[in-house]
């Protein structure tokens, strides 16, 4: 599920701005995981979050193409 959950968001928007792949968007003042298929599981959102609200998972939400199957 890539970026897994956001709990305790204070609406600062740091994660939205820091996500290279535009996975997170603001909705009614809170960060919402909007395009999880594009998450590259780099954890920048988690590292930029000032209140440690973001939980990550190592699993991709769509099938993964790798060179050796």
């Amino acid at each position: 599920m890539t970026i897994k959950s956001i709990n305790g968001c204070i609406g600062c928007g740091e994660c939205v701005k820091s996500c290279p792949c535009d996975v997170i968007r603001m909705d009614h003042g809170k960060a919402v995981i909007t395009y999880p298929a594009d998450c590259q599981i780099c954890h920048l959102c988690r590292m930029y979050c000032p209140v440690d609200a973001i939980e990550m998972s190592p699993e991709k939400s769509i099938p993964v193409v790798v060179p050796w199957g």
């Binding site: 890539t2 594009d38 590259q40 954890h43 699993e59 991709k60 769509i62 790798v66 060179p67 050796w68």
Partner: protein, 580 residues
């Protein structure tokens, strides 16, 4: 060969033909052809027009220094970034910064350049290799003064010199077009990710600091890098080089897409500097071993032992051979190992456990792939257009990883040089006039995927491209028949899918443009790899396995021919092409 315009509408006949063709492609998760469930109205877009002397595209290490130095040279500067300054592209993830300090190094800069050239089998451009050594200490000192080496996250330290200078910064803007008028650069255009707004920026000079790119692969943090800069530059006539080289980073067998996990704790480390340490790393030798002996490339059950002999494979100079095996346990590279890992240990990016090759599929060795420079100041073949860092095909390291930590340092050094050069170019020069009709045409092209009533989802086209380009037997272990087959697929995507991409919102509009760029980059990689009928550094062909010095002491330049088709030429090592 017919190349469709982006706004060309599909005919009914095209549609019927495509339905048949697409059924044969890989079955994958994202929606393919469908009606466009538009969430926004393309007709409601506004446009904002900017003007500056020097436009810097890209907000990583190269873009930072390009903007700072162009400003300090007296130019009006603007930065536009697809993401956030210091938090997009590969800059946030590199932590080792090469510094050549004559006080502590036992060898001279000449020795360093010679060692790199021996490892790179002549593929490096010694002018740029020398440049990184000569300027790295000054750039590191500036970064130090901004607090870069005191933190884990680069955004705040990067903002300090930008705020001190009041340099305008546009973040979360995707640039889709470079604009050329009267034979020289005139500006760029794109759209905002957070508002229904196109952007045009008129500029006397443009510096592409757009980074590297790949096929949105799993296991390497370049999901936002799709070779946008070099593809846009190619479309306006720039020459592109280095497309045949391959970055050879691996990812973990368990959770291959988890880039953070694959790099141990490196993404959370504070950046540090390192001295001379030249390797011959991360080409395709490990991938060849996996191809010949079975996967994974290292570590874990089933991995061949490092001492297991394997016939053939890429040539590694004896002085640079080492044991690539992953450590049996632990949590990745030891702290302080910098970008390069421990001496004699695994290359950077090798976490513990079983590793599988191909994490960065679609990306070449840093600094080898991008716009062809015509001189030592990062100028491209298009007057007024410069590039720096991974957008410049400087061949600073050559077609293989040589100096540890030189990726970040090279971006800083080249960004600074390009910034000064672009400011000099813009000085005293009048801005080109861009006709309104041309701007209107560009805006129509930008928004075309939003207006399409039906079309291909960009995620589906990307996944189809990945299914063609990422398997190990296409670009990692190459042979003509397989690359020709892949090229047929890519031409199909180029001619019949790229012109029919749909987008329902601004996120998908960005994906649509990234997908178009990846398709063209894939074509470049296949054509360059077919053209180079030898093996050297990170380019390995089963059908031409030997280094061929008689014919291939050359770089390959790619450019758009007058008929719109992709052309290739040889550029002998140590020579520069002409401008224009």
């Amino acid at each position: 060969m017919t190349t469709h315009e982006d706004n060309a509408a599909p005919t009914r006949r095209d549609f019927i033909a495509l339905s048949g063709a697409s059924a044969g492609l890989a079955a994958i998760g994202a929606a393919g052809w469908a009606q466009n469930a538009a969430e926004i109205d393309a007709e409601s877009f506004t446009n904002t027009d900017h003007a500056t002397d020097v436009l810097v595209i890209g907000g990583g290490m190269a873009g930072l220094f390009a903007a700072v130095k162009a400003h300090d040279e007296g130019a009006a500067v603007m930065i536009v970034s697809k993401g956030r300054l210091g938090a997009s592209g590969l800059t946030p993830f590199g932590k080792g910064f090469f510094v050549f300090d004559p006080k502590t190094e036992s060898g001279s800069i000449d020795d360093f350049v010679d060692t790199v050239s021996r490892s790179a089998l002549g593929t490096n451009n010694p002018v740029y290799t020398r440049q990184v050594a000569e300027h790295s200490r000054d750039r590191a000192a500036e970064l130090q003064s901004w607090g870069y080496f005191d933190q884990t996250l680069a955004h705040r330290p990067f903002m300090r010199p930008i705020e001190d200078r009041d340099i305008p910064l546009l973040e979360r803007v995707t640039i889709t077009h470079l604009i050329k008028e009267d034979g020289r650069i005139a500006g760029a255009a794109g759209f905002r990710l957070d508002a229904e707004e196109t952007i045009t920026i008129r500029a006397k000079s443009v510096i592409l600091c757009t980074g590297a790119g790949g096929f949105k692969p799993n296991g390497f943090p370049l999901g936002d890098l799709t070779h946008d800069g070099s593809v846009m530059a190619y479309r306006i006539g720039a020459k592109i080089t280095g497309k045949e080289w391959n970055d050879g980073h691996s990812t973990r067998v368990d959770h291959p897409a988890a880039t953070f996990d694959g790099w141990g704790d490196m993404f959370e480390r504070v950046p540090s500097t390192n001295g001379v340490d030249v390797h011959h790393d991360l080409g395709v030798d490990m991938n060849y071993r996996a191809y010949a002996l079975g996967n994974p490339v290292s570590g874990g059950p089933g991995a061949p032992q490092a001492e297991t002999p394997v016939a053939g494979g890429p040539f590694v100079p004896e002085e640079f051979q080492r044991n690539f095996d992953s450590p049996p346990g632990g949590d990745g590279p030891p702290p302080g190992a910098g970008e390069g890992g421990a001496p004699g240990g695994p290359p950077p990016g090798f976490g513990a456990g079983a590793n599988v090759g191909g994490a960065s599929a679609g990306m070449a060795v840093h600094k080898s792939e991008g716009l062809v420079p015509i001189n030592d100041r990062c100028a491209s073949t298009v007057p007024g257009l410069y590039a720096a860092g991974d957008a410049l095909g400087s061949h600073m390291s050559g077609g293989i990883y040589t100096q540890i930590g030189s990726s970040l340092a090279g971006s800083a050094v080249q960004g600074a040089i390009a910034g000064e050069a672009a400011a000099d170019y813009a000085s005293g020069r009048a801005a080109s006039v861009i006709p309104d009709a041309r701007l209107a045409q560009i805006r129509d092209q930008i928004l075309a995927p939003l207006r399409r009533e039906a079309g291909y989802g960009p995620a589906w086209v990307t996944q189809t491209l990945q299914g063609v380009m990422i398997p190990n037997f296409v670009l990692y272990v190459k042979k003509a028949s397989m690359m020709q087959a892949a090229l047929a697929y890519i031409e199909e995507l180029r001619d019949h899918h790229a012109p029919m991409l749909r987008a329902a919102n601004l996120h998908e509009l960005r994906l649509a443009w990234e997908t178009r760029n990846m398709i063209l980059s894939a074509e470049m990689k296949l054509r360059a790899s077919l053209f180079r009928t030898e093996s050297r550094c990170s380019h390995y062909r089963l059908d031409y396995p030997e280094v061929d010095d008689a014919n291939w002491r050359v770089w390959i330049n790619i450019f758009r021919g007058e008929d719109g088709t992709m052309q290739l030429e040889k550029q002998p090592f140590g020579t520069w092409p002409a401008q224009g």
